[in-house]
């Protein structure tokens, strides 16, 4: 424990990096995932095909492969993006596929009659989504989106392998010096647990708040 106390500042910087990766990755995934979900449920065939192709590709490629391709492959093509930005982009790209599916699931959970009724009174596609479907769909999306958030948080540890000094990376550095693997990784595990639990709590609150409003 002494080890953790002495290097608390060093580890907390790592926690900040982890939080940064998670928040940027998750927000990016939300934005991109929404666009994709709209593409996938929309009436325009080429957009639906692109959306589906994107989801099938990024949902099925391991994040570590994506990171290595992005960080060591792109420079050969003349594009060098800083490590932190690369990791955040990869997290967002990968998580947006899952976000898209969570949102599509939510949209599909709204009964068809709702959309048909809205169409019948003359709403456009965007208006159907904006005023009728999405507000109802959002409640069903909350828990799947919490899953995506936790997924992003835990996947951010993979960035340690490609040189981003986030929590796992710093834990490894400490272990290197002090040979205290159990203590170091228990601490890192506890931090991940706390952040994930916090994310889950926010999700539950949100779900309850939305339920009351309905």
């Amino acid at each position: 424990m002494h080890l953790i106390v002495t290097h608390f500042g060093f580890l907390m910087q790592g926690v900040l990096f982890t939080l940064g990766l998670t928040v940027i990755g998750f927000v990016g995934a939300l934005v991109l995932g929404t666009v994709l979900a709209v593409c996938r449920v929309g009436p325009i065939t080429p957009l639906r095909v692109i959306g589906s192709a994107y989801v099938e590709f990024f949902r099925n490629i391991p994040l570590l492969s994506l990171l290595v391709l992005f960080i060591f492959g792109l420079p050969d093509a003349g594009v060098t993006i800083p490590l932190f930005a690369s990791a955040a982009i990869c997290l967002a790209l990968s998580a947006s596929a899952f976000t898209c599916e969570a949102m599509r699931g939510g949209i599909n959970s709204v009964s068809v009659g709702q959309a048909e009724a809205a169409r019948a009174i003359g709403f456009s596609f965007v208006e159907v989504l904006r005023f009728v479907v999405l507000p109802q769909a959002f409640r069903a999306m909350v828990q799947p989106l919490v899953n995506v958030f936790i997924g992003v948080l835990l996947s951010s540890a993979l960035a340690a392998a490609v040189g981003v000094a986030e929590l796992t990376n710093r834990t490894q550095q400490l272990n290197l010096k002090y040979a205290e693997a159990v203590v170091c990784f228990l601490f890192a595990g506890a931090v991940y647990l706390v952040i994930a639990l916090a994310g889950g709590t926010v999700g539950s609150r949100l779900e309850r708040w939305l339920a009351i409003k309905r």
Binding site: V41, V49, A53, I71, P75, D76, A161, V162, L176, A179
Partner: protein, 323 residues
């Protein structure tokens, strides 16, 4: 078109086709990359029979020596040595992807020790490798998942509180690799203010922190990634064991190793369980192969293929803190 019909419609075939095309494009792009890691580390890969001869020419312990040590007795009964290490370390412990044989300086020593105890001559069956990392080595020794760790395992007083170290069996040191033509880095002091890559499982990061405190250290998972980082300009330099860097520079003309002696002294030891009582036995084995010249022969066949000159004098057993 209603929302319903567009939601339910599926275009599976088109999707599969498109994502397959994307995959092909991506993999084609990665295979053309100039920084692909070498499959054999330029080490002992091609000379297997000669390598095997060096192992089996090593000494074999007498029955009385085995019976005097409970640890050795146990290994002899089990018939092979459970080794903790890596299979992706050029020069030290690298698995040949075709034949499945493990060769290198660390691998060779573990095989020699297994041969010393069991007397068997089938090199491939002498040891069973469990992959260990810096994060797991001490724990796997403590719970007897492995009998001994041969993994460019630097002896440090902190680690010696958890496990026993036989040796040191090799003194190495860290050197600096830079992009070819880079003249701004000639010594460790020049690393201040620069971005330095190193392996996340190496003590090199500690040396850099100590000797060039203003350097920005990037930790990558393996050797090939560090080399790529230097080659692609993500890092100004790559610091690691000199032998490994020389091996990399041999197979990759885009990088060079800064001349001169290594700037650290890094003693490698054989990690052993503290309760096993194996340390005196393994030390006696090391002394034997130091004296017989088997150690030097193994060195010449592995590290000696990239480090020029004669095999060095073996370090003195127990000469560093923690051993």
């Amino acid at each position: 078109m209603s929302l319903l019909s567009s939601v339910r419609r599926r275009r599976t075939a088109a999707v599969a086709g498109l994502s397959a095309a994307a995959l092909v494009a991506l993999s084609a792009c990665s295979s053309s990359s100039a920084s692909a890691p070498p499959i054999d580390g330029g080490g002992a890969g091609g000379h297997l029979s000669a390598y095997n001869k060096i192992i089996t020419a090593g000494p074999v312990a007498s029955d009385s020596e085995i019976n005097a040590n409970a640890w050795a007795k146990k290994i002899k009964q089990q018939g092979y040595l459970k080794v903790g290490g890596t299979d992706s370390g050029p020069l030290f412990s690298l698995r040949d992807l075709k034949s499945g044989e493990l060769t290198g300086f660390d691998a060779g020593l573990s095989q020699m020790l297994a041969h010393y105890i069991t007397g068997k001559t089938d090199v491939k069956a002498l040891t069973k490798l469990t992959i260990t990392s810096v994060d797991t080595r001490e724990t796997m020794l403590q719970n007897n998942t492995v009998d001994a760790v041969f993994a460019t395992y630097s002896i440090t007083p902190e680690r010696a509180q958890k496990v026993d170290f036989a040796g040191p069996y090799y003194q190495s040191g860290d050197s600096i690799m830079v992009k070819k033509g880079n003249t701004s880095i000639t010594s460790v002091k020049d690393l201040n203010g620069k971005t330095v890559a190193t392996e996340s499982n190496s003590t090199a990061a500690l040396a850099v922190h100590k000797l060039a405190p203003k350097a920005h250290v990037l930790l990558f998972k393996d050797d090939a990634q560090c080399v790529a980082a230097v080659q692609q300009g993500r890092a100004d330099a790559y610091v690691l064991d000199q032998g490994i860097l020389l091996g990399d520079a041999l197979s990759n003309p885009a990088v060079q190793v800064v001349g001169g002696d290594p700037f650290t002294v890094d003693p490698y030891g054989i990690g052993l369980n503290k309760q096993s009582g194996a340390k005196p036995f393994v030390n006696a084995f090391l002394k034997k192969i130091f004296a017989s010249g088997d150690w030097a022969k193994l060195y010449k066949a592995t590290i000696g293929t990239v480090v020029k000159g004669k095999a060095p004098t073996p370090p003195k057993i127990g000469s560093v803190p923690g051993s």
